[in-house]
């Protein structure tokens, strides 16, 4: 009897709580939906702009410089950047979350999304860093070898440049592996949530 009263109290307290804010009009809803769509479009646009900049800069190199090494290197960088943009678009676009199914299917969706992002980060060398290496290697190493003997960098300076480029790639790769491990932890947490059933 006492428990029944308390439960009635809980429902009473819950259902009689003061409403927050004014109800949203249909126009406001439409505005929010447009804002959401624009946010996603802006993110995609940033990726495409970065690719366009790479293509323009290295396209300019390929046209302006007559060295075969620079032309080949620039062409490879452009090809790599286009491939990366395609992969970013393919892997990065967010799926629409399911709206009309139960709890388990909602969690499944989020798990699949996290797995997709984790796998993309784990394989970063094959689709992001890797495709950029041939072009950059040709430009840095080939460019150096193509210089007339009197105009080459000192071998120590060249070694420093090469090491810096290599370490930058390794560092980016490592950061992505760390991010992939974090996503795996989140997947484990989500599994723990799913197992509560």
């Amino acid at each position: 009897m006492a428990i029944d009263l308390l439960q009635k109290d809980m429902r009473n307290v819950w259902q009689n709580q003061k409403a927050e804010g004014a109800p949203m009009s249909l126009e406001e809803i439409r505005r929010c939906a447009r804002k959401l769509y624009k946010r996603i479009s802006r993110r995609n646009l940033r990726e495409y702009i970065a690719t366009v900049i790479v293509v323009l800069v290295f396209g300019f190199y390929a046209v302006w410089f007559h060295s075969v090494t620079i032309r080949v290197g620039s062409g490879l960088v452009i090809a790599g950047a286009l491939y990366v943009a395609y992969q970013l678009h393919r892997r990065g676009s967010a799926r629409t979350s399911p709206e009309d199914c139960g709890f388990e299917c909602c969690l499944d969706f989020h798990r699949r999304e996290l797995e997709r992002q984790r796998d993309a980060l784990r394989s970063i060398w094959s689709w992001y860093l890797g495709p950029l290496i041939p072009g950059l290697a040709v430009l840095v190493i080939g460019g150096e070898l193509a210089r007339p003997p009197g105009f080459r960098h000192h071998w120590i300076a060249f070694a420093v440049i090469l090491t810096f480029c290599t370490l930058t790639f390794v560092w980016v790769g490592k950061l992505n592996q760390i991010a992939a491990r974090r996503l795996q932890q989140q997947i484990n947490e989500l599994d723990a949530t799913a197992n509560q059933q």
């Binding site: 809980m10 819950w14 709206e99």
Partner: protein
């Protein structure tokens, strides 16, 4: 139009649902907007195979659960299972809930500690639904729902009582 009907009949309930999922008022405002946008979009797919109420709550709970999962990714809030909640110390909750406002705060604080599925179940229960309707919304069996409700409401009632609720 279905959305307008949903917003007028369930607007207040959706606001209460958002409170169960998000404690921060600014983020809660965003969550309420997200829920309304998701609902507005979802009605294009509504085929009448379940009741309008079930549809609305499914969409709202899924949107709110997605919000919680994203929040967990941003920073880890403490969510506990029912066993842990049963054993949690009351030391941090010793203030007296002397009126409706405090009683609601206490109730919300407890609900916000629950994992998403338990939260879906108890919020639906507090909205006055029976086990079968909650099962339809959450996708778990009515028997499972009934067991969960029994456990959760006893925990909440015990904690609520300890806080000295005066609901009226």
């Amino acid at each position: 139009m279905l959305y307008e009907e949903a917003a007028s009949d369930f607007g207040a309930a959706l606001g209460r649902l958002a409170r169960a999922y998000e404690a921060d008022p600014d983020k809660r405002r965003d969550l309420v907007q997200e829920i309304h946008v998701a609902l507005w979009r979802s009605f294009g797919k509504f085929d009448g195979r379940c009741s309008l109420r079930t549809w609305i709550y499914r969409v709202a709970h899924n949107t709110a659960t997605s919000h919680v999962i994203q929040q967990v990714r941003a920073k880890t809030p403490t969510m506990v299972g029912l066993e842990e909640l049963e054993n949690l110390s009351d030391k941090n909750e010793t203030e007296t809930a002397s009126d409706q406002h405090h009683a609601l705060d206490r109730l919300l604080a407890l609900i916000q500690k629950l994992k998403p599925l338990d939260r879906q179940v108890i919020v639906s229960y507090l909205e006055g639904m029976d086990a079968a309707s909650i099962g339809e919304i959450t996708g778990i069996s009515a028997g499972n729902v009934a067991t969960k409700i029994h456990r959760i409401k006893n925990i909440l009632a015990r904690r609520f009582h300890e806080g000295g609720c005066h609901g009226d």
